[in-house]
Symmetry: C2
Subunit: 341 residues, 2 copies
DNA sequence: AATAGCCTTGCAAATGTTTTCATAAATCTG
DNA sequence: CAGATTTATGAAAACATTTGCAAGGCTATT
């Protein structure tokens, strides 16, 4: 009564078709090398047996694994959803399969996940940002697997990177508020340790503000995870204090969304009572009420570009030349910011 | 000048450690079978060479591939984000790696993706819903790979399923509106061909409404994809007509979110001018302003349960007994619905 | 002290493919 | 039509690992 199921292999196909295994392999991988009539026989045998070729076997032979790994902090946090989708679509179009892993902003776990993906012999690997453990960098170097950092552009990166200049994004957001005359500005960012994207944005934003001679009040620099509920809670707390800022600079659109809801919840009018700016321009940010003013990060384009880059490197037999691609981030003025009255 | 990089294999580790390859393999896979001192030597050699074992080779030997496939319509659509996250977390905790594929509601493409995952010899595979091509069902049966349908519960399913009764969800939503006295009810659902979740919800909702003797007006049964922007647009159109419904029953929370924004945009008060109910209770639905009344689908629990089920089947050596797990869906009353005045 | 049993390790076969090399058949060239 | 070239196919080695079997060394039992 044992599970006897015999999964047909290439030789059973070959036998049925009356040819050798080599011919079947060729019919599959280099169809132009085998005669049409033979090809037909092989196809029929494959169909008849329900043969599905074993990628592991070709991987082991030294051929491609036809997989690409992607390591992100989180899949569900909406920040990366669009990116993962675009990356996956591009990779999939070229016949690759995506190995996905998420580490919840824990870089030690990231190292473990990268190792796991390398065990599977991914043909290339992408990670978010450039903050990684030295061990992670080392193992990637040793294994000589094509690798790319997605989401930020850094002129001095050790590895290829495809993304935006996060400092610029932070600066853009800050300058917009300053330009509108705001001086009482609060910032809300997530924990910036191990998160170079948030860190760069925050530093640049605060730098811009200070540079104009505006004082940054300690108690207005909030910290909250990328999460609507928590952001809303923090903002409600902030906005019910005796002294209120006139503008909120949010680390990303999710936080900004929470901020809008907080204001609405308190009966404050956005942007009349409080201006709010986000960073990201996520799917849906344009439809919020009021529509969110934000700094656009072209997530889909970045994801697709990163995937294309890695595929190119794979196709050129792993000559992993360092490439740095910088996407522009653009201020999208909608309705959540207005001049200080 | 060729890429000479020699990735260390198990025999180079064995040589360095002064043992045989078999011992290295055992030290890795069955540490209790090898003496502590030998194990230590092996560990050192592994460390020294930076050896990373090749999963493809063990896959080929007939052992597990240590991968699980997940096929979803979309990663970015927020409907599945939470699910993918939970599924991935659970799978990852047990040492498996996730192979992800998305087909954008195209079931022919789904078939191709399933085949691709089978080529990689995933140890198990999960898909969304029970609407699949006959070919898909056939190939899964032939390959005898453990498989589960996530998201809906169906007592007569061909394969294991873990999810909710979507008809119940639709009914719950409809009954809530009816109970509040609404008679002028509009529904907004996505295309229901090839989407059994939406179809069951919609049919049950409309059934409940008709059963109470309430007429369903043709022109109030809208169709829109799961997308905030499109939903908002459709709802704006609906709500600016001469005759307006008093309640909107939305296929899921994303559509409902678009509906809320549409109402807000038109200066209508929710729920005073129009009641809105969603289905799903996605992340963030509780924080919307006003907080969304909806029928909760426990996405994280479903995803984790599905993953656990598949892992159990794998561990029990592929005895894929048919299991059907039904999660309850629960009406979450928040603030977007009120009694018809 | 001899035998039985266990623990640890090594040898070699097996896994499913791809690819190099060789060979046979077919086509071309003069 | 003979020799040269091209084309189609097969045989076998190689890839990195796991595991059944066997053997050697050790401990325990009588």
């Amino acid at each position: 009564m044992k599970k006897q199921s015999y999964r047909p292999d290439i030789v059973s196909v070959a036998t049925l078709a009356g040819v050798s295994a080599a011919t079947v392999s060729r019919a599959l991988n280099h169809p132009e090398l085998v005669q049409p009539t033979t090809r037909k026989k092989v196809d029929q045998a494959i169909r008849k047996l329900g043969y599905i070729r074993n990628r592991a076997a070709q991987t082991i032979h030294g051929r491609r694994s036809a997989t690409i790994g992607l390591v992100v902090p989180s899949v569900s946090d909406a920040i990366f959803a669009e990116l993962v989708q675009a990356f996956n679509d591009t990779v999939s179009e070229s016949g690759f399969t995506l190995l996905l892993a998420s580490h919840r902003y824990d870089l030690d776990m990231e190292y473990a996940l990268v190792r796991k993906l390398l065990e599977h012999r991914v043909d290339a690997l992408a990670m978010i940002g450039l903050d990684h453990r030295p061990d992670t960098y080392r193992v990637l170097r040793e294994q000589e697997v094509p690798v790319a950092a997605i989401w930020n552009y850094q002129p001095d990166s050790q590895i290829s990177c495809i993304g935006i200049d996060n400092a610029e994004a932070g600066r853009r957001a800050a300058e917009h508020l300053l330009m509108l005359g705001h001086r009482r500005i609060a910032t809300i960012f997530p924990e910036t340790r191990d998160n170079d994207r948030a860190r760069a944005r925050r530093l640049a934003a605060m730098g811009s503000i200070s540079a104009t001679g505006v004082a940054l009040r300690e108690e207005w620099q909030l910290q909250t995870p990328y999460n609507i509920a928590q952001s809303k809670r923090s903002c409600i707390e902030l906005l019910t204090r005796a002294e209120r800022p006139t503008a909120l600079l949010c680390g990303n659109d999710v936080i900004a969304q929470g901020a809008i809801y907080a204001a609405l919840h308190l009966g404050l009018s956005v942007p009349r009572d409080i201006s709010i700016i986000g960073i990201g321009d996520f799917d849906g940010s344009a439809e919020l009420e009021p529509p969110l003013t934000t700094v656009r990060i072209p997530a889909s384009r970045i994801g697709a570009a990163a995937a294309r880059h890695l595929i190119t490197v794979i196709d050129s037999d792993g000559q992993d030349q360092l490439v740095r691609t910088r996407f522009d981030c653009e201020l999208i003025m909608r309705s959540t910011t207005t001049a200080r009255t």
